[in-house]
């Protein structure tokens, strides 16, 4: 167990090191990426740019810059942004993380519950009306762009019907920290959760349905039926449990990636200032320290989420214990 943990840790460090080096090199290979003039301010005098260049260590060899950046990111934790002089990177990400985590975790619960329900119900009624309705709806959910859905939700809840009884309870856009107002936290996140979860409900529902239907071709389902188990028991206990494994694996990836910043569209539409928005802004502004930090943060979550998924899979499927 311990060696397993340590080996994962080692691999994570290697992965993160590789990613950071690649990010670093890509940055400096990008034309127009030299941050000195941008840090110095518009039309700064050459002397000013030189001073800034020296101040930020941009006149030193790349490997020294890399080492310094890592040192300031992980050891002294006082790395500051290139685009937003004086903004400390680590506290910024630490303060943005709860918003993203709240958004993604809530949406994840929603999409896992509804996605599983969709898949199971559709599989149970395959090729009949409930299946067709659910699959049509999930196809739509998958096809609709998140940004557009978010804007539509906002148009209805914040603009067109905001003053009606139906949506007058919807708080203004933005994130309310759980610690300061749990009820406000919940209300403010209801629509973001729905918006983010929609795509995944559709995706997971469709995948699970296909998985269950495929599982029904398995010999062990025939065994279960020949034992005299009811259709419901065969569906839930025997078919769904195996079919859910790929979903769990996918969930791990999706969750990790979203917590790492891929929920940016939902974050922006609903004014939730999370890590995704930070990453997006950093990329737009070619803000290397912030890019490095968010990329490392994202890769950390992807690795961690995968580790958790591996454990979950072993719990669900004992076959995986062998390896």
């Amino acid at each position: 167990m311990l060696t397993n943990f340590l080996s994962r840790l080692l691999r994570m460090v290697i992965v993160m090191f590789g990613i950071s080096v690649i990010t670093f090199l890509i940055f400096f290979a990008t034309p127009g990426s030299d941050p000195a003039a941008r840090i110095a301010g518009r039309n700064a005098a050459p002397e000013t740019i030189a001073a800034v260049r020296h101040d930020f260590g941009l006149d030193r060899p790349l490997y020294v810059q890399y080492a310094l950046m890592m040192d300031r990111l992980f050891i002294t934790r006082d790395l500051t942004s290139f685009a937003n002089r004086g903004q400390k990177i680590v506290p910024t990400i630490v303060s943005a993380a709860p918003a993203t985590l709240s958004l993604v975790a809530g949406a994840a619960i929603l999409w896992m519950a509804l996605g599983a329900m969709t898949g199971i119900i559709a599989a149970a009624f395959r090729n009949r009306l409930p299946d067709k309705i659910l699959m049509g709806a999930s196809m739509m959910a998958v096809a609709m762009p998140v940004f557009w859905v978010g804007e539509m939700i906002n148009l209805v809840t914040q603009s067109r019907l905001h003053d009606t009884w139906a949506f007058s309870w919807v708080p203004p856009l933005g994130y309310v920290p759980f610690t300061s107002d749990p009820a406000g936290w919940f209300l403010a996140l209801v629509f973001p959760w729905i918006c983010l979860a929609l795509l995944y409900i559709g995706l997971y529902g469709r995948m699970l349905r296909t998985g269950i239907i495929e599982t029904y071709q398995e010999d062990y389902i025939r065994t279960a039926r020949s034992k005299g188990l009811s259709a419901r028991r065969v569906l839930l206990k025997h078919a769904t449990r195996t079919a859910i494994i790929p979903i769990v694996i996918m969930f791990g990836m999706d969750f990790g990636v979203l917590v790492g910043g891929a929920a940016v569209l939902t974050e922006v539409v609903f004014g939730i200032n999370g890590v995704g928005r930070l990453t997006y802004q950093a990329l737009k502004a070619l803000d290397l320290p912030m890019i490095m930090a968010t990329v490392l943060y994202a890769s950390f979550f992807v690795v961690v989420a995968n580790a958790i998924v591996d454990v979950l899979c072993v719990m669900i499927d004992p076959r995986m214990r062998r390896k």
């Binding site: 127009g32 000013t48 740019i49 303060s95």
Partner: protein, 563 residues
């Protein structure tokens, strides 16, 4: 005078909107500001923006977004008057009790400080604070340290070695007399403007000589920053040590508290303002909401012209724009009306044909490149344009238009591409991320032929456009910071600009007349295509009252009430 006077430049979305009518340095007679109407005092003002403006350090931050806030939180020795309209271009005494006494040679300014003014941390403002603040401009490598304040005696040493900056002989404090004397190397008619911008804010002398980032620095204004998280929000509350000393320089505010939230989209900000969840949003209004707002929220909309232009600088040093006929041809061919529609219609822009914006000091109506040359632009002259291109023999050459990656800039670029194609060029559009395009197009190493960009004034002086954008001193080949994007350097015109600046110190009127001629002379050489002047649209919530607009700081937040 080493006038590497350069300028602040707003980005689309952080537009610095200022309307300059006069460059007068006459101490304004403060109009009797209405007694603070007690009924309106109090409440919390809610502001929104898609993103924050970066560091909170007033000597470093160079965004219109936060300069607007600094107008109510920090003071310089002098300040632009906090007033609506053209009056806001006037410089008035602020922490100085009166306008300075200036020596006959124009090189020595002496300021007497007001008594009893305190920082928000309770300390008195002393001459030492002023010396420390002016030193700090160099110590923190303020963006304008090498362009605005390099004329102060001792500034050269400070620029080459910021950490040891003393401004020896340049800034002298006299604690007993409560005065500060500033010595310049050469006279500078724009020096008081430069002292009025937030980079010359007076801060406590103990302030660390580094970018303070998100940590608020105590100031002398009516409000002080109480919290700032660049990723979420900013709050301003009343400065407990503030006592109004001049309503012109630093008026007391109405709201008790100002909250600024960052995030969301322009679209959601409009909804929030319309729902009364916010009072104002910094970002430009989405074009698709304009029609609806202009009918539903007429009273909440405020339109103001800006001292700015959108233009397309053409690199005069590489083909095909190294041929003046090609540059002139494009100027003839561009349909400004079409561009105005691309940008969102006449509500948001006004066609232009010359460098200095309408109503700007030195502006005189004239248009060379139009159907019937005269005062104003009327219609493109394609025949003349085609003839010029034919003469130049450059037809069929490749031309690449570099734009930012936002819709407006891309739209303008695509339009220019179509015009160039019309003229027989093999034209393409290259889109570069908005945050790096500006430095990208400046660097001659990138061989940019023509680009789409904007310039917003720093302070109301003609040199801020002409000398900065087209002076030889602003051209630094191979540097990311070479604001003369066209690479235009005409010895004769450059000499005329230098003498016009000198003339401005003694005879502003005559100087402005000369600037108008220089504007014409530069346009004859056509280093850029003037496109249009953008206008600023502000949408405020129903409860906001007393909307006043300063050409330097946009909406004067402190002067509006929310109840």
């Amino acid at each position: 005078m080493d006038l590497r006077v350069t300028s602040r430049r707003g980005r689309r979305g952080r537009a610095l909107a200022r309307l300059a009518i006069t460059a007068a340095m006459i101490p304004a007679v403060a109009p009797a500001l209405a007694q603070a109407q007690e009924a309106h005092r109090g409440g919390t003002m809610q502001l929104m923006a898609v993103a924050s403006g970066g560091t909170l350090d007033p000597q470093i931050n160079y965004t219109a977004q936060f300069w607007q806030l600094y107008s109510a939180t920090y003071d310089g020795l002098v300040a632009f008057k906090k007033a609506d309209g053209p009056e806001s271009n006037t410089v008035v005494p602020d922490l100085a009790a009166d306008m300075p006494t200036v020596s006959a040679d124009g090189k020595t300014y002496t300021f007497t400080l007001r008594k009893g003014v305190k920082f928000s941390n309770g300390d008195d403002v002393t001459p030492e604070d002023v010396v420390a603040s002016l030193q700090r401009i160099f110590k923190v490598s303020s963006p304008t340290s090498g362009s605005f304040y390099n004329g102060i005696v001792g500034a050269d040493d400070c620029l080459s070695s910021p950490a040891d900056c003393t401004l020896e002989g340049g800034v002298i404090a006299d604690a007993d007399a409560n005065t500060v004397t500033i010595n310049l190397v050469e006279p500078d008619p724009e020096f008081l403007f430069k002292l009025s911008v937030p980079h010359a804010s007076i801060l406590p002398k103990g302030t660390a000589a580094k970018d303070m980032g998100n940590t608020p620095i105590p100031g002398t204004g009516a409000y002080m920053f109480t919290s700032y998280d660049a990723n979420n929000s900013l709050t301003m509350e009343r400065n407990p040590h503030f006592v109004e000393w001049s309503a012109d320089a630093q008026p007391e505010g109405y709201a008790d508290k100002i909250e600024y939230k960052f995030g969301g989209t322009e679209e959601s900000a409009v909804n929030a303002v319309m729902n009364g969840q916010a009072d104002w949003s910094f970002d430009p209004l989405p074009a698709d909401r304009l029609a609806e707002l202009s009918t539903n929220a007429t009273d909440q909309l405020h339109v103001h012209a800006q001292s700015a232009w959108w233009y397309a600088p053409m690199n005069v040093n590489i083909p095909p724009f190294n041929d003046v006929r090609v540059r002139q041809a494009l100027n003839y061919a561009v349909d400004r009306n079409a561009l105005v529609s691309v940008f969102g219609g006449p509500a948001l822009a006004q066609p232009v044909c010359q460098i200095l914006p309408p109503d700007f000091p030195g502006h005189e109506d004239s248009c060379i490149y139009t159907q019937d040359p005269g005062d104003t632009w009327s219609a493109p002259d394609m025949d003349k344009a085609r003839a010029l291109v034919a003469e130049s023999g450059t037809k069929g050459e490749k031309v690449n238009v570099v734009t930012e990656d936002n819709a407006a800039s891309r739209g303008v670029g695509t339009y220019l591409q179509s015009v160039l194609t019309d003229l027989g060029y093999d034209a393409t559009v290259q889109t570069v991320s908005g945050d790096i395009q500006f430095t990208y197009i400046q660097n001659t190493n990138n061989n940019v032929q023509i680009s789409v960009t904007q310039w917003y004034m720093d302070y109301p002086a003609a040199s801020n456009f002409l000398n900065v954008l087209f002076g030889c001193g602003s051209f630094h080949p191979g540097s990311d910071s070479s604001i003369n994007i066209a690479g235009f350097c005409d010895e004769e015109i450059d000499a005329r600009m230098k003498s016009a600046m000198t003339l401005g110190a003694t005879d502003p009127e005559a100087a402005n007349a000369e600037w108008a001629k220089i504007d014409y002379a530069v346009m004859e050489k056509a280093p850029a295509v003037p496109l249009f002047t953008p206008r600023r649209l502000d949408l405020v919530s129903e409860r906001v009252g007393n909307f006043e607009y300063s050409s330097l700081f946009n909406w004067l937040i402190a002067k509006s009430w929310v109840q």
